[in-house]
Every structure is written in C-alpha cells, then in structure tokens.
C-alpha cells in the first residue's frame, strides 16, 4: 500500500516527574513487516504506543507515522491506522455492533462485508452488550475495530490478551495477511511465542530503553541452544558452569539442563572427561531464552536493577 516508513521515532523520551518511562527511543517499522515490540510489564511499551498515538506528549524527541508528524498531523494519521489499546475498555452499554457502528461513523468508509468476515473468523458475538461479554470476546470486538478500515499501519498493544489459542492463531493469520497486502503491524507483547510466530523483526525494551533490535531469524541464528544431559553419576554444576558459552545451568542429581552458545565439541569434551554420558538432547533456543539472556547480560553489566531478573520473571 505504501513505501513509506510506517512508524519512525527519533530520540523519543518520556519522563513522568523523576520516572524515565522512555529514554531516547529510535526505531523504524518498515512497510510490509510485523514489528514485535517485546518487554516485561512496565518496560515502556505502552508509553511508547500512547506517545505515538498522541495520547500523551513526549518530553523530548519526535515520532512520525507514514511520514506524518504524530502530534501535528494526528488526525490525518488516524485515518490510516488501526489501534488496539492495552487492557481494552469499551462502552459497556453498547453491543459489539453498536460499538463498531460508532467508530465506523466517526471514521467513514468501512466495508461492512469485511466486518462480518472478520467477525466470523474470530467467532465474535456482535449482538451482545460489550459489558456482558467475557474479556476474550470483548477483545475480539477491539480487534475488529482495529482491522475494519483496512489500515496501512496496525498498532496493537498486547492484543492477544484473553484470546483462546485457536482464536490467537486466526488472529496471527490475519496479521500476516494484511502484512502480505502491504500494510505494517506494530505489535507490543510479552508473549514471546506469539512474536516469534508472526514478527519479522523484534525490538526488546527494558526500563524505557531499547536494548536490542534484530530480525527474528538472526536472533535464532545466534546459535543458542538448550541442552539436556543425563550422566552416569550425580553431576557437579561447577564443572558445567566452567565451560565457555554455558549459561543457566540447572542440575538435578544426574540430569543437567543448560543454555549453550558455541561449538558442541567443547561441551562434549568437558563432559566426557568426567562423566559417563547416558543421554543428550538439544533444541534451538526459542526467543524466550534469547530474551532472558539479554536481560541476564543487562544485569551482569550492572545496567539494570536486580528485580525481574530471574528466569521466570519475564513471563
């Protein structure tokens, strides 16, 4: 639909008093891609989205959408984007259909055949009052509202909240379809598997700072693996931790789990000298481990605080 950079931020900064919610954010969302914006709760994802949506105003820096300034041209921008806020709230007394009609009236040019198609695909109930819907069914109304005007850029803040796995999959297919047709998607999430499945590139944000910006493919190709070993006698964690490239070693008697980056030979040699190797299995690390690894580094280098560091913390 367009060759313009879909979303562009330059030194985008937002302070709330002393709290630096967003620090010097530079990023581009290219046309025809799904950009995954990953980070734990409170990292600054929603602040970023609310700033580019002109709901709040940056302390410094600027942002543009489809080549238009996010503040000065916000109304023109909103003709061409779809938006799904985090923790969606709708008008409880309106039905889903009323809600969509309201937004369609404010927007103009909505194709109702497309709306019914979207509703069918997601299994949305549009004749019930939004206030009486479960959160997942309410979210479907929000998803339809974001998609219904065929936007050039979709901005969605943790959109899968409350959707069941089947609907999530359909929703992801819908995202790939609109991207295939030339639109772009800016998808904030802490659900790593979702981003891994649909995103082309990923930005990772923490404490308001962008700490990584890579393609999903290159993140995977870092060669990080998850390794599980079974050895003949009770294992000593220190031995495994000493192997270069090994991280997050967990020892349970004779079973050892670790993340490993590097040549497998180094690891095998170190183990074979001491233990009998009963069984070994490896798999590509998923984004989750890569994600945690980044955080781990961040903390070891002393840039972060010691909260939310443990491996479970970012889920």
């Amino acid at each position: 639909m367009t060759d313009q950079i879909a979303l562009h931020t330059e030194g985008l900064t937002k302070h709330y008093g002393d709290v630096k919610a967003l620090v010097d954010l530079d990023l581009d969302v290219r046309p025809g891609e799904v950009f995954g914006f990953l980070g734990p709760n409170g990292a600054g994802k929603t602040t970023t989205i609310r700033t580019v949506m002109d709901e709040i105003r940056p302390t410094a820096g600027r942002a543009s959408i489809l080549g238009m300034d996010c503040h000065a041209q916000s109304v023109q921008i909103r003709r061409r984007i779809g938006y799904l806020p985090s923790d969606l709230a709708l008008y409880p007394n309106l039905t889903g259909k009323d809600t969509l009609t309201y937004f369609a009236n404010l927007r103009g040019g909505v194709d109702w055949a497309y709306v019914s198609e979207l509703a069918d695909r997601l299994g949305a109930q549009l004749d019930k009052k939004v206030g009486d819907l479960s959160s997942g069914n309410r979210q479907k109304v929000g998803v339809i509202a974001a998609f219904m005007n065929c936007p050039d850029l979709l901005i969605m803040d943790e959109p899968s909240n409350g959707l069941d796995p089947l609907v999530q999959r359909e929703f992801q297919t819908m995202m790939r379809e609109v991207v295939g047709a030339g639109a772009s998607v800016f998808l904030s999430s802490h659900t790593l598997s979702e981003v891994q499945r649909v995103a082309d590139r990923v930005g990772i944000i923490r404490h308001g700072k962008l700490i990584a910006l890579e393609t999903v493919a290159s993140l995977r190709s870092k060669g990080m693996r998850k390794v599980e070993l079974e050895v003949g006698s009770p294992a000593d964690a220190a031995l495994f931790e000493a192997v270069p490239g090994a991280r997050e070693v967990v020892v349970e008697d004779t079973r050892v789990q670790l993340s490993f980056e590097g040549s497998m030979e180094t690891l095998l040699k170190a183990v074979a000298g001491t233990y009998e190797l009963v069984d070994i299995s490896t798999q590509d690390a998923d984004l989750e481990e890569v994600f945690l690894t980044y955080y781990h580094d961040d903390v070891v280098n002393g840039r972060g605080e010691s909260d939310s560091v443990t491996s479970g913390g970012a889920r």
């Binding site: 929603t46 609310r50 709901e55 909103r78 008008y91 404010l106 206030g131 009486d132």
Partner: protein
C-alpha cells in the same frame, strides 16, 4: 493502613466528607458575620406561619438564622447526600466496579464485610456531624454572637440521626439489588422528595400531618434548635436505620452477587424481542451511535427524562394549583416578611405569584435541576471517558480533540435547553390551570436565565474535566463554586453589599425577572462567562495528557 475492610472503607470516603464539613463550617462563619451586620429588630414581628415555613423562630437572630440557612438546608442536604453516596457505594459499588469477587475471596463472610462497611459509614457520619457541631459551637463564641435559647447539640443530634437514616436506606437498597445506581437514586429521590414535601405540606392547611410520612420531618419538624431533642423522633430515625441494616444483612446474604455487568433497559428488551426488534433497532441502534454528540446524548437520556419530567410535573405543573390553594394564607403574613430575609431564599415577595415562584421553583430548585444535568454530562464528557479508559480508543479515530470537546459541549447545551424548556412548559401550564397571575413572557425570560446558570456551571465542569481528566474534580469544583456563589449572592443581597455582583446568581434573579422581565445585561454577563469557559475547554483538553488509569 489497609488492615481491614473497615479501615479501607473509612479511607475511601473520609476526604469528601472532610471537604464538606470544612466548607459548611466556613459557610456558617461567613453567614454569621453577615447576619451580625444586619439590623434584625424587624424580625421580632414574624408570625408563627412564617416560622413553620422556613423554620426560623420568632426570636430570630444572627445565630439561628445562620444555623437554619447553612446547616438546616445546605448542610443537611449535603450530609444526607454524602450518606446516600456511602451507602450506595459501599456494597453495590464494589459490584459495579467488579471488585467484590476479590474482596469476598478473602476469608470474610458477607455479614462481616457488611458490618465492617456499615461501621465505617456510621463512624464517618458521626465524626462529620461532630465536626459540624464543633464549628457550630465555636463560631458564635469566636464572633461573640449570642446563642441563648438555642440548642446546637440537639440540632446536630437530629441532623446526625437523619443522616444515618439516609445512609442505611441506600445501604439496604444496594445490598438487596446490587445496583449502586438504584441505591443512590432511591436514596437521593427520597431525600429530595421529603425535603420539598415537608416544606410544602406544612404550608397547606389540613395537610400538615402528611409531612410525618417523610424522614425530613423528624429532623426539622420539632425545631430542635429551639425546642431541644425530641427523643421520640430520634428513636424513630435510629430504629428505622437499625431495621434497614437488618434488611441489608438479609438481602446481601441471600442473593447472587453481580459480576460487573450492565443493566437491561426497556430499549434492550425491545431489541431482544423478535417482534419489536426492528422498532428497537430503529430507536436505539443507528441513531445513538451516529456521532459523538448523539452517543453522549444517549448516555444521559435517562437523566434528562427524569429531571425534565420532575421539573415539568412537580415544580411546574403542580405549583400553580398549590399556589392557588395557599394564596390566602400567604397573604395573611406576607406583610410581616422582611424583604431581606426572603432574599436568602431567592428573593421576591411571597404574597405575589412572582415572589412565590421565585422562592419555590426558581430560587434553588431550578438551578439545581439544571446543574444536575449539565454538570453530569460535562464531568463525564471528557474526564469520564478517560477514567473509563475509552478515550484512547475514541481518539484513535480520525477526529480531533477539538471535535470531541465541541460535540460533547453541543449535547450539554442542548440538554440544558431541554430542561429549561421543561421548566417553562410545566410552570406555564400550571399557571394557566391554577389561574395564577404570572406573566408568561417574564417566565420565559427567567427560564432562559436559569438555563444560562446551568450552562455556566456545566461549562466550568467541562473545563475542569478537560484540564484534569478527573470526574470527581469536575463535579466538586463547579458544585462547590455554585454553593459558595449562591450563598454569597444571598447574603450580599441582604445587606446590598457590592460583592454580590461577583456572583453569577446576582445576574439571574438580581433584577427579579419574573416581575420585571428579561434582564438583558444579566443575560449578556452569563452568556459571555459561559462562552469564555466553553472556549477554555478546547485548549485545556489539547494540552492535557490522556489519562491511562482512573
């Protein structure tokens, strides 16, 4: 701090109560200062009819006038209103907010929760009334005003008992229905009805006994300020409160809790019934979501209907025949009425129809009715959407913030106009039916002026909501301003003080439009103020950051 349901309940509500008590104490001080400066010797001639009408004794002096004006009307309404808000919010409010599930997931029975909340309510209301009592005792001492023959303690014991009654009434309705809107509506409705009913019934010969059906009678009926505590009345109020508490306990324990959900309106029923579905769709569906203005209108159509209907029927239509029936008794003591005193209640001479209407309909009730509508719409317009977190989604549409402010302002102005017209139509019909000698053109002018008053404070609410994003501020600031400015105007007109002109109410009834016709200068002042405030709302909302959470 949050060691129990009790302390949390206290903490949730103490602030509003404190503000109310401090404001009332300040108004009392202000009132006594002004009354002190007026020559009160003329009051000694007042007859008993007048005493029953406004509750002011024959030995009227600065202290009793101030107690009755500030505590006896404003104070009692505000304290009872706060009690209704507490009673409605404490049980049913948690269901509306959807927090009741988490609350009752704790090892506390429903009875324990209800007892804790009721205890918090009683504590707060008693403390609030104690605060009023302390101010009531201290103010005359500081100002060296005589209070001989007056029993402030008895007065406040009665006020406390009535306040508790209204709190428990709302608590009982909320506990049975789980609907805070219903609880608040019933509580406020009974409060308003009983306030006016007691006032009016005591003026109609032979109907005085009916006043005993209303709780307000047991607060003011025995004139506790002069006669001391009427223990029978207190026992009745407290006993009914206790009974209502038992009713609340039973209701709360036996019913299903509501999940956060919506009510079912008549329109919804029409839409869900296949026979009437088409009609329902036509009434509701497309029209009410066709624009921001229409959507806003549909959200408040219930309120508009109730207020307009009440004003049309009760304050308008019925007032004509009521006046005709009491005209004689009015005339019998009208000569004794000092003009300055009546000014407090909106001015005018009670013996003439214009004066009667100015006091009964237009002095306080009509401005309140208009403000209820305009301030509700204005406060919810911007701040309400922010607190409900729908503003982000609304602004994701290609509409500018100015459009949003403008469309919501249009609805407020239109609704204010409807209420103003309902007052006019009802009053005019009542005048014709009762054969009252009131100029209908002057009546129209007065209705225009009172509509402007409503729009003025609505516009103030819109500005505050636009700038702060907080519904509570958008309600309290204009309501507080209206209360202060109304009192200021009333007190200033007693002594013809120049600072009365600082109050917008001066431009409303100051020139007695029911007698003298349209006050074009006053209308211009009110219009300009309203337009300026409305205009300020646009930049205020442009600057504000849309709030994310309530």
């Amino acid at each position: 701090m949050l060691t129990s349901v009790f302390t949390k309940s206290v903490r949730d509500r103490w602030r509003g109560l404190t503000i109310a008590v401090v404001s009332l104490a300040a108004l009392l001080y202000f009132g006594m200062v002004v009354y002190q400066d007026i020559d009160l010797s003329i009051y000694t001639d007042l007859g008993p009819a007048f005493e029953s009408l406004i509750g002011i004794g024959a030995d009227a002096d600065a202290a009793s006038l101030a107690y009755n004006a500030i505590y006896g009307s404003y104070g009692a309404i505000i304290m009872a209103g706060l009690a209704v808000a507490m009673g409605a919010g404490y049980i049913a409010g948690e269901e509306r907010k959807g927090t009741v599930g988490v609350l009752l997931a704790n090892p506390r029975s429903r009875t324990q929760v209800l007892v804790a909340k009721a205890a918090a309510m009683v504590l707060l209301l008693v403390l609030g009334c104690l605060g009023l009592w302390a101010a009531g005792v201290a103010t005359p001492a500081v100002l060296d005003v005589s209070t001989s023959g007056m029993d402030v303690t008895a007065f406040l014991v009665h006020l406390t008992a009535m306040t508790l009654f209204f709190g428990f009434l709302a608590l009982a309705v909320g506990s049975w229905s789980g609907k805070s809107g219903v609880a608040a509506g019933v509580g406020a409705g009974v409060l308003a009805l009983s306030f006016f009913a007691v006032g009016i019934l005591q003026m109609i010969e032979g109907w005085e006994g009916l006043a005993k059906l209303f709780p307000w009678y047991y607060f003011a009926g025995s004139d506790p300020l002069l006669n001391g505590i009427a223990w029978g009345h207190i026992a009745l109020l407290i006993g009914t409160s206790a009974l209502l508490f038992v009713v609340a306990l039973v209701g709360y324990n036996r019913r299903d809790l509501r999940s956060r959900s919506t009510g079912v309106s008549l329109l919804d029923q029409l839409r869900s019934n296949p026979v009437t579905a088409t009609l329902g769709e036509r009434l509701a569906g497309s029209a009410r979501v066709s624009s921001i203005a229409m959507k806003t209108a549909s959200e408040h159509q219930g309120l508009l209907f109730v207020v307009s209907a009440l004003m049309f029927l009760v304050m308008g239509l019925m007032m004509g025949p009521i006046y005709t029936s009491i005209e004689g008794s009015m005339a019998s003591f009208s000569d004794a009425l000092p003009e300055q005193l009546v000014a407090l209640f909106g001015g005018g001479d009670l013996s003439t129809p214009a004066g009667f209407y100015q006091i009964e309909t237009f002095g306080m009730v009509a401005p309140i009715a208009l403000m209820v509508v305009t301030i509700t719409i204005a406060a919810k317009a911007l701040a309400g959407e922010e607190e409900n977190r729908t503003m982000g989604l609304l602004l994701a549409n290609p509409v500018s913030r100015r459009t949003v402010v403008g469309q919501k302002a249009i609805t407020m102005v239109a609704f204010g106009g409807v209420v103003g017209f309902a007052i006019y139509a009802g009053t005019a019909l009542g005048v014709l039916i009762g054969g009252v000698d009131l100029n209908l053109v002057n009546l129209a002018a007065t209705c225009v002026l009172v509509t402007l008053i409503g729009l003025l404070f609505g516009a103030l609410s819109l500005v505050v909501g636009a700038a702060t994003g907080r519904v509570a501020l958008a309600i309290f600031i204009p309501v507080g301003a209206a209360l202060l400015l109304h009192t200021m105007n009333a007190l200033a007109s007693l002594s013809d003080a120049w600072w009365g002109a600082l109050s917008p109410f001066h431009y409303y009834l100051g020139n007695e439009p029911l007698d003298n016709g349209m006050d074009w200068g006053g209308a211009a002042v009110l219009t300009v103020l309203t337009v300026v405030l409305l205009a300020l709302a646009f930049p205020a909302f442009d600057r504000a950051e849309v709030r994310e959470h309530a």
